[in-house]
Symmetry: C2
Subunit: 206 residues, 2 copies
């Protein structure tokens, strides 16, 4: 029997890689529904069209599977917002678009972001999660910074905060909105929009 690592390095794009991705998509679905603590490999397999044994054919262990899932999620996550930067022409419009995009994400991808916050938290307990969590966090920070930079350019003003601070503050708003939205608070999304629109200008020098 060949090792998993052998199968991985065998070819770049083949059926093996495709199936890995396919299984990861299934796993991501289950994980976002149940959370890290309640998701078992058998549960993941049951929500796919395969048996539980096959997971160990494509992934060394549970940690590698979850890591692969998180990275696949990451690739999707950042994409959306760079489009707003690309099409922005006026500062106030960018501000409104960004707030609206956050609200849409919070509503449509609620379970995915719930999972992201869950896994980021697990990385504080499980050392093996930490590196990937920090990497994803960094890419989110950079995404936010592209928004803030573009906003400042369009407004013709200087930025008054660091990238980390801007990300920390906005992430706090988003997380709070996600909690309240999932808890059934109907005002959560509107509050997120207005709070974002009020906060963005405060990042700039007067």
């Amino acid at each position: 029997m060949t090792e998993v690592s052998d199968r991985i390095s065998r070819r770049q794009v083949d059926k093996f890689a495709e199936r890995r991705s396919q299984l990861a998509t299934s796993a991501l679905q289950t994980l976002s529904q149940l959370g890290y603590a309640r998701t078992s490999l058998r549960e993941i397999a049951q929500n796919s069209e395969f048996s539980h044994g096959v997971l160990h054919y494509y992934f060394r262990d549970k940690v590698e599977l979850i890591m692969y899932c998180v990275k696949q999620y990451k690739a999707e996550c950042v994409k959306r917002y760079d489009q707003i930067v690309a099409t922005a022409e006026e500062a106030d419009q960018l501000k409104v678009d960004f707030g609206a995009a956050l609200a849409v994400t919070c509503e449509e991808d609620a379970t995915m972001h719930r999972l992201w916050y869950d896994l980021r938290n697990q990385s504080l307990f499980e050392e093996s999660f930490r590196e990937d969590a920090l990497e994803i966090d960094k890419s989110l920070e950079q995404m936010i910074w592209r928004i803030v930079s573009t906003y400042a350019d369009l407004a013709g003003r200087e930025i008054a905060v660091t990238p980390a601070t801007a990300y920390g503050l906005l992430d706090g708003l988003f997380q709070q909105a996600l909690f309240r939205h999932l808890a059934g608070d109907a005002t959560a999304l509107a509050t997120l929009r207005t709070a974002t629109e009020q906060t963005l200008p405060k990042f700039l020098l007067t």
Copy 2:
């Protein structure tokens, strides 16, 4: 055999309540070390001076135990900051004291807050956790609002943000600092201090 609820309602303050609290303290220690997903009742019992069977003598099930722990934690959590409000005499001093207090909390109670964020996240997956999580969250928001209100009073200016927004923003900063501190970032605490000092004035009207 009497029911757990009978034992609870038997007397107000007695050995039974004391032992509950004592076991909860042990459990809180273990929970903050391992996190929700990796803590078992046997692990909790092993870190106490009792056997695992006694946990079901004092608590109906695991959920009731954890809930009792979280509420006990809550009682300790808010206390500290109200002292800053009480002793504040000047706006800039309050600003500095608050930032310093956040940094101290982030350092000294890192594992406890790591647990709090973990359990708050679990409440998004486990319905039975939600009510208590929202209640604790509310009390933290009010604590922050007392800080912001006092700060505005001392500065003689009006507040420009809602209680929810102020809490969301500051909680984002704190959570980010907690992550980076636990990940070994030596600058995390200093960054939290300065970011807090920069953010607080932005809550006020110019």
